[in-house]
Protein backbone atom coordinates (compact mmCIF):
# COMPACT_ATOMS: atom_id res chain seq x y z
CA UNK A 1 0.00 0.00 0.00
CA UNK A 2 1.15 3.55 -0.74
CA UNK A 3 0.67 5.82 2.26
CA UNK A 4 0.63 9.57 1.71
CA UNK A 5 1.26 11.91 4.61
CA UNK A 6 -1.04 14.92 4.62
CA UNK A 7 0.55 18.02 6.13
CA UNK A 8 -2.10 20.13 7.80
CA UNK A 9 -0.41 23.19 9.25
CA UNK A 10 -3.11 25.51 10.70
CA UNK A 11 -5.93 23.05 10.22
CA UNK A 12 -5.74 23.63 6.57
CA UNK A 13 -4.52 21.20 3.96
CA UNK A 14 -2.00 22.72 1.59
CA UNK A 15 -1.81 22.35 -2.15
CA UNK A 16 1.49 20.54 -1.74
CA UNK A 17 -0.33 17.75 0.08
CA UNK A 18 -3.05 17.55 -2.59
CA UNK A 19 -0.30 17.10 -5.14
CA UNK A 20 1.39 14.47 -2.94
CA UNK A 21 -1.88 12.49 -2.82
CA UNK A 22 -2.21 12.65 -6.61
CA UNK A 23 1.39 11.48 -6.98
CA UNK A 24 0.88 8.69 -4.45
CA UNK A 25 -2.33 7.60 -6.18
CA UNK A 26 -0.61 7.44 -9.57
CA UNK A 27 2.24 5.47 -8.04
CA UNK A 28 -0.18 3.05 -6.35
CA UNK A 29 -1.90 2.47 -9.68
CA UNK A 30 1.46 1.78 -11.30
CA UNK A 31 2.26 -0.74 -8.53
CA UNK A 32 -1.19 -2.28 -8.58
CA UNK A 33 -1.92 -1.40 -4.97
CA UNK A 34 -4.08 1.04 -3.03
CA UNK A 35 -3.36 4.67 -2.13
CA UNK A 36 -4.28 5.68 1.40
CA UNK A 37 -3.52 8.85 3.29
CA UNK A 38 -2.58 9.66 6.86
CA UNK A 39 -3.40 12.82 8.75
CA UNK A 40 -2.35 13.72 12.29
CA UNK A 41 -4.57 15.87 14.48
CA UNK A 42 -7.79 17.64 13.68
CA UNK A 43 -8.67 19.71 10.65
CA UNK A 44 -11.63 21.85 9.70
CA UNK A 45 -11.95 20.13 6.37
CA UNK A 46 -14.11 17.38 5.04
CA UNK A 47 -11.55 14.60 4.82
CA UNK A 48 -13.77 12.34 2.72
CA UNK A 49 -13.52 14.88 -0.09
CA UNK A 50 -9.79 14.17 -0.34
CA UNK A 51 -10.91 11.13 -2.30
CA UNK A 52 -11.03 13.41 -5.30
CA UNK A 53 -7.21 13.45 -5.36
CA UNK A 54 -7.13 9.68 -5.53
CA UNK A 55 -6.87 8.37 -1.95
CA UNK A 56 -9.28 5.55 -1.19
CA UNK A 57 -8.93 5.85 2.59
CA UNK A 58 -7.91 8.58 4.99
CA UNK A 59 -6.53 7.41 8.32
CA UNK A 60 -6.82 10.05 10.98
CA UNK A 61 -4.94 10.01 14.28
CA UNK A 62 -7.07 12.35 16.33
CA UNK A 63 -5.07 12.35 19.57
CA UNK A 64 -5.30 15.72 21.36
CA UNK A 65 -1.54 15.66 22.02
CA UNK A 66 -1.04 16.41 18.31
CA UNK A 67 -1.57 20.15 18.45
CA UNK A 68 1.35 21.42 16.41
CA UNK A 69 4.02 20.01 14.15
CA UNK A 70 6.94 18.50 16.06
CA UNK A 71 9.34 16.56 13.85
CA UNK A 72 10.33 14.00 16.50
CA UNK A 73 6.81 13.35 17.75
CA UNK A 74 5.31 13.23 14.26
CA UNK A 75 8.04 10.91 12.99
CA UNK A 76 7.21 8.44 15.77
CA UNK A 77 3.49 8.51 15.04
CA UNK A 78 3.88 8.31 11.26
CA UNK A 79 6.25 5.35 11.44
CA UNK A 80 4.00 3.49 13.88
CA UNK A 81 1.04 4.15 11.60
CA UNK A 82 3.02 2.94 8.57
CA UNK A 83 3.79 -0.30 10.42
CA UNK A 84 0.23 -0.87 11.60
CA UNK A 85 -1.17 -0.16 8.15
CA UNK A 86 1.50 -2.15 6.33
CA UNK A 87 2.67 0.62 4.01
CA UNK A 88 5.32 -0.33 1.47
CA UNK A 89 5.84 3.15 0.03
CA UNK A 90 5.43 6.45 1.89
CA UNK A 91 4.95 9.75 0.07
CA UNK A 92 5.44 13.22 1.57
CA UNK A 93 5.29 16.68 0.04
CA UNK A 94 8.79 18.20 -0.18
CA UNK A 95 7.59 21.20 1.81
CA UNK A 96 8.89 22.56 5.13
CA UNK A 97 7.27 19.90 7.32
CA UNK A 98 7.67 17.06 4.84
CA UNK A 99 11.42 17.70 4.68
CA UNK A 100 11.59 17.89 8.47
CA UNK A 101 9.88 14.58 9.15
CA UNK A 102 10.30 12.15 6.22
CA UNK A 103 14.04 11.44 6.78
CA UNK A 104 13.37 10.65 10.45
CA UNK A 105 10.60 8.24 9.43
CA UNK A 106 13.10 6.66 7.02
CA UNK A 107 15.45 5.94 9.93
CA UNK A 108 12.65 4.48 12.05
CA UNK A 109 11.42 2.20 9.26
CA UNK A 110 14.87 1.31 7.91
CA UNK A 111 13.63 2.69 4.61
CA UNK A 112 15.64 4.17 1.77
CA UNK A 113 14.54 7.70 0.94
CA UNK A 114 14.75 10.03 -2.04
CA UNK A 115 13.85 13.64 -1.29
CA UNK A 116 12.80 16.18 -3.90
CA UNK A 117 11.53 13.71 -6.51
CA UNK A 118 10.25 15.29 -9.71
CA UNK A 119 8.56 12.36 -11.48
CA UNK A 120 7.03 8.97 -10.85
CA UNK A 121 9.62 6.27 -10.15
CA UNK A 122 10.47 3.55 -12.62
CA UNK A 123 9.24 0.34 -11.06
CA UNK A 124 9.66 -2.35 -13.75
CA UNK A 125 12.47 -4.37 -12.19
CA UNK A 126 13.80 -2.13 -9.49
CA UNK A 127 12.64 1.12 -7.90
CA UNK A 128 14.38 4.18 -9.35
CA UNK A 129 13.35 7.71 -8.47
CA UNK A 130 14.38 10.83 -10.39
CA UNK A 131 15.09 13.93 -8.33
CA UNK A 132 16.52 17.37 -8.98
CA UNK A 133 20.10 17.88 -7.83
CA UNK A 134 22.59 20.75 -7.95
CA UNK A 135 19.75 23.12 -7.10
CA UNK A 136 17.76 22.28 -10.20
CA UNK A 137 20.74 22.31 -12.58
CA UNK A 138 20.55 18.52 -13.10
CA UNK A 139 18.61 15.35 -12.36
CA UNK A 140 19.74 12.17 -10.64
CA UNK A 141 18.10 8.75 -10.91
CA UNK A 142 18.42 7.01 -7.58
CA UNK A 143 17.63 3.42 -6.84
CA UNK A 144 16.07 2.60 -3.48
CA UNK A 145 17.41 -0.73 -2.22
CA UNK A 146 15.18 -1.31 0.82
CA UNK A 147 11.83 -3.07 1.14
CA UNK A 148 10.07 0.08 2.38
CA UNK A 149 10.56 3.17 0.25
CA UNK A 150 10.05 6.85 1.00
CA UNK A 151 9.70 9.68 -1.48
CA UNK A 152 9.22 13.40 -0.95
CA UNK A 153 7.81 15.05 -4.04
CA UNK A 154 8.90 18.50 -5.21
CA UNK A 155 6.11 21.03 -5.25
CA UNK A 156 4.58 21.84 -8.63
CA UNK A 157 6.35 19.00 -10.38
CA UNK A 158 3.54 16.49 -10.75
CA UNK A 159 0.38 18.55 -10.81
CA UNK A 160 -3.03 18.15 -9.22
CA UNK A 161 -5.57 15.95 -11.00
CA UNK A 162 -9.08 15.58 -9.66
CA UNK A 163 -11.70 12.92 -10.10
CA UNK A 164 -15.18 12.42 -8.75
CA UNK A 165 -14.69 10.25 -5.67
CA UNK A 166 -14.90 10.21 -1.92
CA UNK A 167 -12.51 8.58 0.52
CA UNK A 168 -13.41 6.47 3.50
CA UNK A 169 -12.32 8.23 6.69
CA UNK A 170 -11.12 5.96 9.49
CA UNK A 171 -9.89 6.62 12.98
CA UNK A 172 -6.47 5.26 13.76
CA UNK A 173 -5.42 4.71 17.35
CA UNK A 174 -1.67 5.17 17.79
CA UNK A 175 0.26 5.87 20.97
CA UNK A 176 1.31 9.51 20.80
CA UNK A 177 4.40 10.57 22.76
CA UNK A 178 4.30 14.02 24.38
CA UNK A 179 5.88 16.89 22.49
CA UNK A 180 8.82 18.65 24.10
CA UNK A 181 8.42 21.66 21.87
CA UNK A 182 6.48 24.68 23.04
CA UNK A 183 5.33 26.98 20.26
CA UNK A 184 5.49 30.52 21.60
CA UNK A 185 4.52 32.52 18.53
CA UNK A 186 3.46 32.18 14.92
CA UNK A 187 3.88 35.03 12.46
CA UNK A 188 2.14 34.67 9.17
CA UNK A 189 2.33 37.18 6.42
CA UNK A 190 -1.30 38.08 6.17
CA UNK A 191 -3.26 37.56 3.02
CA UNK A 192 -0.32 36.55 0.87
CA UNK A 193 0.08 33.23 -0.89
CA UNK A 194 3.33 31.65 0.33
CA UNK A 195 5.90 31.95 -2.45
CA UNK A 196 6.45 28.19 -2.58
CA UNK A 197 2.75 27.67 -3.26
CA UNK A 198 2.34 30.50 -5.76
CA UNK A 199 1.66 29.64 -9.39
CA UNK A 200 2.50 33.15 -10.66
CA UNK A 201 5.50 35.09 -9.38
CA UNK A 202 6.81 38.55 -10.25
CA UNK A 203 10.37 39.14 -9.12
CA UNK A 204 12.66 42.17 -9.04
CA UNK A 205 16.40 42.69 -8.93
CA UNK A 206 18.93 45.43 -8.46
CA UNK A 207 17.88 46.83 -11.84
CA UNK A 208 14.92 48.49 -10.12
CA UNK A 209 17.45 50.76 -8.37
CA UNK A 210 15.72 51.11 -5.01
CA UNK A 211 12.77 50.14 -2.81
CA UNK A 212 10.89 53.31 -3.79
CA UNK A 213 10.54 51.92 -7.32
CA UNK A 214 8.81 48.70 -6.33
CA UNK A 215 5.37 50.16 -7.05
CA UNK A 216 5.48 49.19 -10.74
CA UNK A 217 6.30 45.61 -9.80
CA UNK A 218 3.59 45.44 -7.14
CA UNK A 219 1.04 46.82 -9.63
CA UNK A 220 1.98 44.11 -12.11
CA UNK A 221 1.74 41.42 -9.41
CA UNK A 222 -1.66 42.73 -8.40
CA UNK A 223 -2.95 42.77 -11.97
CA UNK A 224 -1.86 39.15 -12.37
CA UNK A 225 -2.76 37.97 -8.90
CA UNK A 226 0.88 36.96 -8.49
CA UNK A 227 3.17 36.70 -5.49
CA UNK A 228 6.36 38.76 -5.33
CA UNK A 229 9.98 37.67 -5.03
CA UNK A 230 13.41 39.26 -5.35
CA UNK A 231 17.10 38.58 -5.90
CA UNK A 232 19.49 38.25 -2.99
CA UNK A 233 21.15 41.69 -3.13
CA UNK A 234 17.67 43.21 -3.01
CA UNK A 235 16.77 41.48 0.26
CA UNK A 236 20.30 41.92 1.61
CA UNK A 237 19.87 45.69 1.14
CA UNK A 238 16.49 45.47 2.86
CA UNK A 239 14.66 46.80 -0.17
CA UNK A 240 12.39 43.81 0.21
CA UNK A 241 11.74 41.37 3.09
CA UNK A 242 14.03 38.36 3.44
CA UNK A 243 11.29 35.82 2.83
CA UNK A 244 11.07 37.04 -0.77
CA UNK A 245 14.67 36.05 -1.58
CA UNK A 246 14.81 33.26 -4.14
CA UNK A 247 17.87 31.37 -5.36
CA UNK A 248 20.51 28.96 -4.25
CA UNK A 249 20.58 30.38 -0.74
CA UNK A 250 16.96 31.50 -0.66
CA UNK A 251 13.73 29.81 -1.60
CA UNK A 252 13.56 27.39 -4.48
CA UNK A 253 10.33 27.83 -6.35
CA UNK A 254 8.64 26.28 -9.37
CA UNK A 255 5.69 28.44 -10.37
CA UNK A 256 3.94 28.23 -13.73
CA UNK A 257 5.11 31.75 -14.55
CA UNK A 258 8.17 33.61 -13.27
CA UNK A 259 8.64 37.19 -14.46
CA UNK A 260 12.15 38.49 -13.72
CA UNK A 261 12.52 42.26 -13.81
CA UNK A 262 15.97 43.85 -13.68
CA UNK A 263 17.63 40.63 -12.59
CA UNK A 264 20.85 39.66 -14.38
CA UNK A 265 20.32 35.90 -14.05
CA UNK A 266 23.36 34.87 -12.02
CA UNK A 267 23.71 31.12 -11.73
CA UNK A 268 22.88 31.28 -8.01
CA UNK A 269 19.65 33.11 -8.78
CA UNK A 270 18.69 30.66 -11.53
CA UNK A 271 19.18 27.78 -9.10
CA UNK A 272 16.09 28.94 -7.26
CA UNK A 273 13.81 29.51 -10.23
CA UNK A 274 14.95 27.26 -13.07
CA UNK A 275 12.13 24.79 -12.43
CA UNK A 276 9.53 27.42 -13.31
CA UNK A 277 7.38 26.32 -16.26
CA UNK A 278 7.59 29.62 -18.13
CA UNK A 279 10.15 32.36 -17.54
CA UNK A 280 9.77 35.92 -18.78
CA UNK A 281 12.80 38.20 -18.52
CA UNK A 282 12.61 41.97 -18.70
CA UNK A 283 16.07 43.52 -18.81
CA UNK A 284 17.59 46.50 -20.61
CA UNK A 285 20.81 44.62 -21.33
CA UNK A 286 20.38 42.21 -24.26
CA UNK A 287 23.49 40.36 -23.02
CA UNK A 288 22.01 39.61 -19.59
CA UNK A 289 22.58 35.91 -18.91
CA UNK A 290 18.97 35.47 -17.80
CA UNK A 291 17.80 35.61 -21.44
CA UNK A 292 19.48 32.23 -22.03
CA UNK A 293 17.20 30.66 -19.43
CA UNK A 294 14.07 32.52 -20.54
CA UNK A 295 11.11 31.49 -22.65
CA UNK A 296 10.10 35.06 -23.43
CA UNK A 297 12.34 38.09 -23.28
CA UNK A 298 11.77 41.80 -23.43
CA UNK A 299 14.86 43.92 -23.98
CA UNK A 300 13.87 47.26 -22.57
CA UNK A 301 13.76 49.63 -19.64
CA UNK A 302 11.72 48.13 -16.82
CA UNK A 303 10.35 51.54 -15.90
CA UNK A 304 8.69 51.77 -19.31
CA UNK A 305 7.95 48.12 -20.05
CA UNK A 306 6.45 47.01 -16.75
CA UNK A 307 3.62 49.60 -16.57
CA UNK A 308 2.77 48.76 -20.20
CA UNK A 309 2.63 45.08 -19.37
CA UNK A 310 0.38 45.78 -16.40
CA UNK A 311 -1.92 47.83 -18.60
CA UNK A 312 -1.98 45.08 -21.24
CA UNK A 313 -2.92 42.49 -18.62
CA UNK A 314 -5.68 44.63 -17.17
CA UNK A 315 -6.96 45.29 -20.67
CA UNK A 316 -7.00 41.59 -21.53
CA UNK A 317 -8.81 40.78 -18.29
CA UNK A 318 -11.36 43.54 -18.79
CA UNK A 319 -11.93 42.53 -22.42
CA UNK A 320 -12.18 38.80 -21.80
Amino acid sequence: MVLIYIDNADQEIKNASHEAICYGAALAKQLGTSAEALILGNVNEDLASLGKYGASKIHQVKNSALTHFDSKQFATVISEAAKVLGASVLVFAHNVNGKAVAPAVAVKLGAGIVTGACALPKTDNDFVVTKTVFSGKAFASIQINTAIKIITINQNSFGVLMQDANALVENLEINVPVSNLKITSVDKIKGEIPLTEATLVVSGGRGLKGPENWGILLDLAKALGASTACSRPVSDSDWRPHHEHVGQTGLQIAPNLYIAIGISGAIQHLAGVNRSKTIVVINKDPEAPFFKAADYGVVGDAFEVVPELTAAILKSKGGA
Binding site: K14, D70, S71, K72, A75, V96, K99, A100, A102, P103, A104, A106, V107, G110, A111, I113, T115, G116, K131, T132, V133, F134, S135, A138, F139, S141, I142, N180, L181, K182, I183, T184, V186, D187, K188, I189, P194, E197, L200, H242, H243, Q248, N256, L257, I267, K277, V280, F291, K292, A293, A294, D295, Y296, G297, V298, V299, D301, V305, E308, A312
Partner: protein, 247 residues
Protein backbone atom coordinates in the same frame (compact mmCIF):
# COMPACT_ATOMS: atom_id res chain seq x y z
CA UNK B 1 28.36 23.74 26.53
CA UNK B 2 29.37 21.67 23.50
CA UNK B 3 28.27 22.32 19.95
CA UNK B 4 28.74 20.00 16.99
CA UNK B 5 28.60 21.59 13.54
CA UNK B 6 28.13 19.33 10.52
CA UNK B 7 30.27 20.51 7.63
CA UNK B 8 29.92 19.22 4.09
CA UNK B 9 31.90 19.91 0.96
CA UNK B 10 30.07 21.12 -2.16
CA UNK B 11 31.10 22.41 -5.57
CA UNK B 12 31.40 26.18 -5.74
CA UNK B 13 28.04 27.74 -6.67
CA UNK B 14 29.36 28.75 -10.10
CA UNK B 15 30.82 25.31 -10.89
CA UNK B 16 29.97 23.87 -14.26
CA UNK B 17 27.65 20.95 -13.72
CA UNK B 18 28.74 18.07 -15.94
CA UNK B 19 28.90 14.30 -15.61
CA UNK B 20 31.50 11.66 -16.43
CA UNK B 21 31.75 7.89 -16.82
CA UNK B 22 28.59 7.52 -18.85
CA UNK B 23 26.67 10.06 -16.77
CA UNK B 24 27.15 8.06 -13.58
CA UNK B 25 29.56 10.41 -11.79
CA UNK B 26 29.74 14.13 -11.17
CA UNK B 27 32.60 15.48 -13.27
CA UNK B 28 34.99 16.99 -10.73
CA UNK B 29 37.33 18.33 -13.38
CA UNK B 30 38.23 21.93 -12.59
CA UNK B 31 35.67 22.13 -9.82
CA UNK B 32 36.44 24.36 -6.84
CA UNK B 33 35.20 22.97 -3.56
CA UNK B 34 33.69 25.09 -0.84
CA UNK B 35 32.04 24.57 2.51
CA UNK B 36 28.35 24.12 1.79
CA UNK B 37 27.09 27.74 2.17
CA UNK B 38 24.37 26.84 4.69
CA UNK B 39 26.91 25.06 6.88
CA UNK B 40 29.45 27.86 6.74
CA UNK B 41 27.44 31.08 6.70
CA UNK B 42 24.71 30.00 9.05
CA UNK B 43 25.47 26.89 11.16
CA UNK B 44 29.17 27.50 11.81
CA UNK B 45 29.00 31.26 12.22
CA UNK B 46 26.04 30.87 14.59
CA UNK B 47 28.12 28.50 16.72
CA UNK B 48 30.97 31.04 16.68
CA UNK B 49 28.58 33.81 17.77
CA UNK B 50 27.42 31.65 20.69
CA UNK B 51 31.05 31.05 21.67
CA UNK B 52 31.79 34.77 21.53
CA UNK B 53 29.00 35.33 24.01
CA UNK B 54 29.97 32.46 26.29
CA UNK B 55 33.63 31.45 26.45
CA UNK B 56 32.75 28.05 27.90
CA UNK B 57 31.37 26.94 24.52
CA UNK B 58 33.44 24.40 22.57
CA UNK B 59 32.81 23.93 18.88
CA UNK B 60 33.49 20.58 17.26
CA UNK B 61 33.20 20.03 13.54
CA UNK B 62 32.35 16.82 11.77
CA UNK B 63 32.58 15.95 8.13
CA UNK B 64 31.99 12.60 6.48
CA UNK B 65 34.18 12.38 3.41
CA UNK B 66 37.52 11.55 1.84
CA UNK B 67 40.87 13.25 2.40
CA UNK B 68 39.90 15.84 -0.20
CA UNK B 69 37.54 17.43 2.36
CA UNK B 70 40.46 18.47 4.57
CA UNK B 71 41.02 21.92 3.01
CA UNK B 72 37.42 22.90 3.73
CA UNK B 73 37.62 21.50 7.26
CA UNK B 74 40.77 23.60 7.81
CA UNK B 75 38.88 26.63 6.59
CA UNK B 76 36.07 25.88 9.03
CA UNK B 77 38.65 25.59 11.81
CA UNK B 78 40.13 28.92 10.70
CA UNK B 79 36.71 30.53 10.97
CA UNK B 80 36.43 29.35 14.56
CA UNK B 81 35.95 25.62 15.19
CA UNK B 82 38.02 24.17 18.03
CA UNK B 83 38.47 20.59 16.91
CA UNK B 84 37.40 18.57 13.90
CA UNK B 85 36.49 14.99 13.08
CA UNK B 86 36.61 13.51 9.63
CA UNK B 87 35.03 10.14 9.08
CA UNK B 88 36.69 8.59 6.08
CA UNK B 89 33.55 7.50 4.27
CA UNK B 90 32.80 8.73 0.76
CA UNK B 91 29.24 7.41 0.56
CA UNK B 92 26.65 9.89 -0.63
CA UNK B 93 23.75 7.96 0.86
CA UNK B 94 22.27 10.26 3.51
CA UNK B 95 21.55 7.39 5.88
CA UNK B 96 25.21 6.34 5.87
CA UNK B 97 26.37 9.91 6.48
CA UNK B 98 23.83 10.40 9.27
CA UNK B 99 24.86 7.16 11.00
CA UNK B 100 28.53 8.15 10.90
CA UNK B 101 27.72 11.57 12.36
CA UNK B 102 25.46 10.02 14.99
CA UNK B 103 28.34 7.83 16.19
CA UNK B 104 30.52 10.93 16.70
CA UNK B 105 27.62 12.75 18.35
CA UNK B 106 27.08 9.93 20.86
CA UNK B 107 30.74 10.05 21.88
CA UNK B 108 30.71 13.80 22.37
CA UNK B 109 27.40 14.28 24.22
CA UNK B 110 26.70 17.61 22.53
CA UNK B 111 24.15 20.12 23.78
CA UNK B 112 23.54 21.43 20.31
CA UNK B 113 24.03 19.95 16.85
CA UNK B 114 23.86 22.39 13.96
CA UNK B 115 23.54 21.41 10.30
CA UNK B 116 22.85 23.40 7.16
CA UNK B 117 19.35 23.40 5.71
CA UNK B 118 20.55 21.25 2.81
CA UNK B 119 23.62 20.66 0.70
CA UNK B 120 23.58 22.59 -2.55
CA UNK B 121 24.71 19.56 -4.59
CA UNK B 122 22.39 16.69 -3.67
CA UNK B 123 19.77 18.88 -1.97
CA UNK B 124 18.68 16.10 0.35
CA UNK B 125 17.78 18.21 3.38
CA UNK B 126 17.81 14.96 5.33
CA UNK B 127 20.72 14.73 7.75
CA UNK B 128 19.22 16.78 10.61
CA UNK B 129 15.97 14.80 10.76
CA UNK B 130 17.86 11.51 10.47
CA UNK B 131 20.11 12.49 13.38
CA UNK B 132 17.01 13.30 15.39
CA UNK B 133 15.72 9.75 14.92
CA UNK B 134 19.14 8.15 15.45
CA UNK B 135 19.87 10.11 18.63
CA UNK B 136 16.28 10.44 19.84
CA UNK B 137 16.67 14.20 20.17
CA UNK B 138 14.38 17.05 19.17
CA UNK B 139 14.86 18.52 15.73
CA UNK B 140 13.95 21.94 14.44
CA UNK B 141 14.32 22.48 10.71
CA UNK B 142 14.96 25.53 8.56
CA UNK B 143 15.80 27.75 11.52
CA UNK B 144 16.34 31.47 10.94
CA UNK B 145 17.06 32.47 14.55
CA UNK B 146 18.45 30.83 17.67
CA UNK B 147 18.90 32.07 21.22
CA UNK B 148 19.93 30.14 24.29
CA UNK B 149 18.56 30.76 27.73
CA UNK B 150 20.41 28.40 30.04
CA UNK B 151 19.39 24.92 28.95
CA UNK B 152 16.52 26.16 26.79
CA UNK B 153 16.83 26.89 23.09
CA UNK B 154 14.52 29.49 21.59
CA UNK B 155 14.32 28.85 17.87
CA UNK B 156 12.48 30.59 15.07
CA UNK B 157 11.92 28.52 11.98
CA UNK B 158 10.43 29.03 8.57
CA UNK B 159 6.92 27.72 7.97
CA UNK B 160 4.88 28.08 4.79
CA UNK B 161 4.05 31.76 4.53
CA UNK B 162 5.74 32.89 7.73
CA UNK B 163 7.73 31.95 10.80
CA UNK B 164 7.10 30.27 14.11
CA UNK B 165 9.07 30.44 17.34
CA UNK B 166 9.36 27.56 19.73
CA UNK B 167 11.21 26.63 22.90
CA UNK B 168 12.77 23.34 23.74
CA UNK B 169 15.25 21.89 26.20
CA UNK B 170 18.77 21.04 25.12
CA UNK B 171 20.03 18.85 23.59
CA UNK B 172 18.51 19.74 20.24
CA UNK B 173 19.39 19.40 16.57
CA UNK B 174 18.82 22.43 14.38
CA UNK B 175 19.14 22.89 10.62
CA UNK B 176 20.15 26.43 9.75
CA UNK B 177 19.40 28.82 6.94
CA UNK B 178 19.57 32.49 6.08
CA UNK B 179 18.90 34.79 9.02
CA UNK B 180 20.81 32.70 11.57
CA UNK B 181 24.06 34.62 11.20
CA UNK B 182 26.09 36.79 8.84
CA UNK B 183 28.77 35.40 6.58
CA UNK B 184 32.36 35.95 7.81
CA UNK B 185 35.80 35.80 6.27
CA UNK B 186 38.57 33.97 8.14
CA UNK B 187 41.37 36.26 9.34
CA UNK B 188 45.11 35.57 9.34
CA UNK B 189 45.20 34.71 13.02
CA UNK B 190 42.42 32.16 12.54
CA UNK B 191 44.18 30.64 9.53
CA UNK B 192 47.44 30.27 11.49
CA UNK B 193 45.65 28.81 14.52
CA UNK B 194 43.77 26.32 12.35
CA UNK B 195 47.01 24.62 11.35
CA UNK B 196 47.56 23.28 14.84
CA UNK B 197 43.96 22.53 15.79
CA UNK B 198 43.22 18.81 16.05
CA UNK B 199 41.72 17.17 12.96
CA UNK B 200 40.93 13.59 13.95
CA UNK B 201 40.45 11.05 11.21
CA UNK B 202 38.22 8.06 11.90
CA UNK B 203 37.69 5.02 9.77
CA UNK B 204 34.33 4.44 8.11
CA UNK B 205 32.08 2.08 10.02
CA UNK B 206 28.89 2.02 7.96
CA UNK B 207 28.60 0.51 4.51
CA UNK B 208 25.05 -0.69 3.81
CA UNK B 209 23.61 1.69 1.23
CA UNK B 210 19.86 2.27 1.28
CA UNK B 211 20.06 4.13 -2.01
CA UNK B 212 22.35 4.03 -5.04
CA UNK B 213 22.76 6.75 -7.64
CA UNK B 214 22.28 5.12 -11.05
CA UNK B 215 22.73 8.07 -13.39
CA UNK B 216 22.66 11.81 -13.85
CA UNK B 217 21.08 13.89 -16.55
CA UNK B 218 21.17 17.53 -17.55
CA UNK B 219 17.85 19.24 -18.26
CA UNK B 220 17.09 19.78 -21.95
CA UNK B 221 18.47 23.12 -23.09
CA UNK B 222 15.89 25.86 -23.50
CA UNK B 223 14.97 26.07 -27.15
CA UNK B 224 15.82 29.73 -27.17
CA UNK B 225 14.18 32.82 -25.93
CA UNK B 226 11.38 34.39 -27.92
CA UNK B 227 11.94 38.14 -27.91
CA UNK B 228 8.93 40.42 -27.72
CA UNK B 229 8.97 44.05 -28.86
CA UNK B 230 9.07 46.23 -25.73
CA UNK B 231 6.38 48.49 -27.16
CA UNK B 232 4.01 45.60 -27.78
CA UNK B 233 3.06 44.17 -24.40
CA UNK B 234 -0.30 43.04 -25.76
CA UNK B 235 1.67 40.48 -27.75
CA UNK B 236 3.43 39.21 -24.60
CA UNK B 237 0.08 38.84 -22.85
CA UNK B 238 -1.28 36.96 -25.87
CA UNK B 239 1.73 34.59 -25.86
CA UNK B 240 1.40 33.92 -22.14
CA UNK B 241 -2.29 33.19 -22.59
CA UNK B 242 -2.41 31.28 -25.83
CA UNK B 243 1.04 29.74 -26.26
CA UNK B 244 2.39 29.18 -22.76
CA UNK B 245 -1.13 28.97 -21.28
CA UNK B 246 0.05 30.18 -17.89
CA UNK B 247 -2.30 33.13 -17.32
Amino acid sequence: MKILVCISKTPDTTAKIAFAEGNTKFDENGVQWIINPYDEWYALVKAIELKERDASVTIHLVTVGGADTEPIIRKALALGGDEAFRVNNTSNDSMVVAQEIAAIAKQGAYDLILTGKETIDYNSASIGAMLSALLDQNFISAAVKLDLNGKIAIVTREIEGGEETCETNLPVIISCQKGMAEQRIPNMRGIMAARTKPLNVLEASISAQNTTIKSFELPPAKTGVKLVDPTNMDELVRLLKEEAKVI
